[in-house]
Symmetry: C2
Subunit: 166 residues, 2 copies
């Protein structure tokens, strides 16, 4: 199995995580951490459910992976995430010394790996990552677009129902 095929296989698991989020009304973003070819942590965005601002997919996966390996250093791991990380999650990737990050879709409004900043490749920090982007980007991005489209439609329907009631 070549690297791209392996990356697509693990991104598929991150996509499944994202779908779990979407199914309960959370923005569909999922993440997986892999070590020695095995998934050691998988998580999805749970911000609304938990009402905890830091429960992004990557941050939860990083915490679970630290527990799994018994160390805050996640050496020899790869993190897969469906959307380009925000500053908090990019920072958590640096803090946990994850050496390789693979993400699906770019986030032009908040992404801090390629879009707004290059936080994972700044030699002034004490850690830098290898980054691969665009793995299954269409699948990852389409999940988000259709989630927000359906959210807008629901809001429109609610407004209409309110108008009809008055």
């Amino acid at each position: 199995m070549d690297v791209l095929e392996m990356d697509r296989n693990f991104m598929q698991i991150a996509i499944e995580e994202a779908k779990k989020a979407g199914a309960i009304g959370e923005v569909p973003i999922g993440a997986v951490i892999v070590k020695d070819g095995e998934v050691i942590a998988r998580a999805h965005n749970l911000r609304e459910t938990t009402q905890n601002a830091v429960t992004h997919a990557e941050l939860s996966a990083i915490q679970d992976a630290c527990k799994e390996v018994g160390s805050w250093r996640l050496e020899e791991t790869t993190l897969y995430v469906t959307l380009e990380p925000c500053p908090m999650c990019a920072g958590a990737i640096l803090q946990s010394r994850i050496p390789r990050v693979v993400y699906g879709a770019r986030d032009p409004k908040g992404g801090c790996v390629d879009s707004l900043y290059h936080l994972l490749n700044d030699s002034r920090f004490n850690h830098e990552c290898e980054v691969a982007e665009g793995v299954m980007a269409d699948e990852c991005g389409d999940m988000l677009s259709s989630f927000f489209r359906s959210l807008r439609e629901k809001k429109k329907e609610q407004k209409k129902a309110m108008r009809d009631m008055n």
Copy 2:
């Protein structure tokens, strides 16, 4: 009580938190979140104790504060922290919509509020913060300097003891 006096009072509590970290061999950094003049969360760095990469003072305080107010939005709060936040913690501040951040010492190697980046004041993100820096900066910085000095001395003594044994 004017703002500076209030800020010094709450920073003093953050310093007490930092000292709790230092007392158990953790890098001495402390944080406090205040709402309506009351401390709603206080935490210190626990990375070595927990072996969890994300247990920085700010991130733990933010999670506790979310639990306290029952929302991921920490509106009308101020976060006090002894050291300039790293990218992860600056990102968590943005994610939790904290409107005001007061920090003590600058971190020229990793600080992302003024030193390396200005993550809390980037209009491209969906949130910006009011920032006050330098409150009790000497006390905050001295704790860190003396912590690292004593760490270096311990290491030197250990090396000497090893040499004497051989």
